[in-house]
Symmetry: C2
Subunit: 132 residues, 2 copies
Amino acid sequence: MSESGAALRNTRQRSAVSALLAEVEGFHSAQDLHAMLRSRGERVGLTTVYRTLQGLADAGEIDVMRPPGGEHLYRRCSEGHHHHLVCRVCGRTVEVAGPAVETWAERVAAQHGYADVSHTLEIFGTCPGCVR
Amino acid sequence: MSESGAALRNTRQRSAVSALLAEVEGFHSAQDLHAMLRSRGERVGLTTVYRTLQGLADAGEIDVMRPPGGEHLYRRCSEGHHHHLVCRVCGRTVEVAGPAVETWAERVAAQHGYADVSHTLEIFGTCPGCVR
DNA sequence: GCGTTTTTGACAATCATTCTCGTTGTCACG
DNA sequence: CGTGACAACGAGAATGATTGTCAAAAACGC
């Protein structure tokens, strides 16, 4: 399960997706990213973009958000566990860390005998620029 | 369109959905609930189930969860704000309250100038019965 | 009962995501 | 450097939950 068996291959497409994610700010949908790659002249299939994003997400290199609107949004984030504070108008996102929340979640789960705990948490609000 | 004059009507279908939600335990998808109603002999359209669930969710009478699997899950829950601790194997769910989390979220959002704050939080784990 | 207005429901439409499968590119090894 | 095995690609089809449509049916006030 660790890095021993997988043997991922280095491909042009994978690099392209990674490179794009390194440049863009904020969250973007798979289709969005695919369109950007296309307009850059990169020839990458939509299927591959999905596969690559999934792989990166599994590897923990990018974060996935499922907003109440439908499509999955991906973003390259700082390492380590954190959550997002998202403006529901313009989408501006701030990464926030909440050690207290992590321990709280662990404790609550443990109290009920649940093991192997993970959690999802998003905070939505209206950012200063969108309030007026 | 205006919220003041809405005047919802009492219909057999609406009652059926409500009644079913009052009986079943745990989260169920719209399609799931629809199938149950059908097998009971209730004649309700799938479209209506969706509409009714949405209405109930808007009214705050049921909770909606979007698990990483795809479909929306609905459940009749206790009143008031709370979150869910869900077994990722069998789906067994515990309602948990975390006043500390609520205030933390508010505070973090306020620090960044975000107003009108809401949040979503789910905890996933493996429940005692599914661990072995 | 009667008319008005909401609600229903069968079906079509939408649309992001996943699957399929023949083709192509990588990489390890000789 | 050549070659073979096999992962990765990609175009299009398939999937499947959710939403839109609109004529017909049901509920409520009087």
